[in-house]
Symmetry: C2
Subunit: 315 residues, 2 copies
Amino acid sequence: MKLDPRHLEILAAIVEHGGLTEGAEALGKSQPSVSRTLSQLEARIGAPLFKPGRRPLQPTDLGLALAEQGQAVLKANAKASDLVARFRTGHSGLVRVAGTPIFMDGVIASMIARFQQEIPDVRVDQSYGYADPLIERLRLGTLDIAIVPLRRSRVPADLSFQPILQGLNVVVCRENHPLTRSKFITAKEIENYPWIAPPADSPLYKDLRRALSNIGAEDFRISCSGGSLASVIGVLTGSDSLTILPYSVVFMMKDHARIAALSLDIGHPDRELGLLVASEAQQSPAARRFRTFVHAQFESLSRRIVQHRKDQLWR
Amino acid sequence: MKLDPRHLEILAAIVEHGGLTEGAEALGKSQPSVSRTLSQLEARIGAPLFKPGRRPLQPTDLGLALAEQGQAVLKANAKASDLVARFRTGHSGLVRVAGTPIFMDGVIASMIARFQQEIPDVRVDQSYGYADPLIERLRLGTLDIAIVPLRRSRVPADLSFQPILQGLNVVVCRENHPLTRSKFITAKEIENYPWIAPPADSPLYKDLRRALSNIGAEDFRISCSGGSLASVIGVLTGSDSLTILPYSVVFMMKDHARIAALSLDIGHPDRELGLLVASEAQQSPAARRFRTFVHAQFESLSRRIVQHRKDQLWR
DNA sequence: CAGCTTCATAACTTTGCGTTATATTAAACC
DNA sequence: GGTTTAATATAACGCAAAGTTATGAAGCTG
């Protein structure tokens, strides 16, 4: 005999709360509804589930045994409800984040760490890429959030873009690099040192070319290219090479890596770093939560950057 | 959010069997029904439970977690079904049996033991009583089976009576009692020994009086009365007292107790021992099973009694 | 025994599950 | 790469059953 798990739930509620009325109330149903369901259940089973005539309603052995199973159903149901609730509030789930490699490694990784300390049950899938392919993945629904530098004018109409940081690059070298001693660096001086180039298809690479032409350095030598942030830092601190990095990345690393930014105005690109998402509505709650978290983190980061610059001016 | 345990069951079936079609088949439902239920569930939850587009249908993390709860529901449901099935086939439940004290102790107790060896999950509530109050309890529904000696003509119309043994009493004494040496016992001899009387309100007591008047013993002394079978046997084996017992009781005890039946024809009462039940239909399955078990036991007992008598004739 | 609480019953509405028939879509195969 | 095949989604509709309010019956109170 196959019976309805809801009936078992009702039976369990009646037994637990000691009466039809109380059980009905606990279930959020009317008393007659519960009464009839119980009658039907007894009819189907062909045996009384409660001892007849006694008013503090007392279950039979069978009634008690079935009520136990009903409790198991209720428990599983409650757990399922909890799972759903946690999902809907973004306390569990999956977030697929992608961004430019340097940025992901230099800034986002530590934010992910902090996020997971706060919301441990959300899994974060990270991957790397530049704007166009990431836009494609957003459209396909295989990505939740892209963190990319983008010109406002180039934001696709079907996506929503939330700027979080001004685009600002700086030229970087190792600590105690000869150039750090110059107050005003000339193009001629720059040309003495080789460059670590970002991947050729990256926006940063274009920024590098433009920056160099801005400061009048026509000829530049590339000693190495294509590495990840960790590789770049490694080469940088072990040689006299120069490279270009987003200021925020340098800021985040200033306490850990032995690198220095040159006081060299290379102009800033007219791009903004921002969070690109497919559509506000169809975001998973976990993705929404991650997005607001990252947004808040960047606001805090902006403030710290501003503060840091003030401090440097005082010196 | 409160969700329907049946939906969790369906989800579990889909996940377990790897597809809507297979899941539907396992549940004994049509594929469209399962499909729609799943859609509704996803709509209610507001999140996909299966990864879109992939054809060996693959659950999302949330889908998998909910399916686990569905499995718990299915398990509880299966257990409940099993409980019901066992109840309906009489493999679990409660049987309330009552009968005359001497008979319950002397014959029924050992049958209960055998029954419980075979069907261990049926609880047997035994109690003692004589015909009239037991009939009342049968009518009230507080008793399932009464095992009583009854005249056929006195069987109430609303109850059903199943005879299991001819009424037959014998006079009993300890082994090696002086009377066991007499081939033909006279009333005079009998009068030398005191009697252990059954309770005054028992049918056995009436039998005793009638038996004694039958054999012409007008005057008899009662040394003790009112005890249970164990008490009667105790007194009997420790003294020269006599008593009257149903033959079946003596037969059952012949290997354990040091008692002997006197070859003294006291006539047999026109009663039959039988199983009295309220109504065939409203019996609990366990009670039905117990009744057929006891009936079979008595048939076997009858055969053994007949065999035993044959053996004694040969000697 | 009167009053109160609790459970059962009645009558009706609404929800939603089950069905079959059919359209779509993804996978597989040549 | 197009065609076949299997699996899933959608549509339309009947029906079982759960929900509701109103009311009657039956045990426990004092």
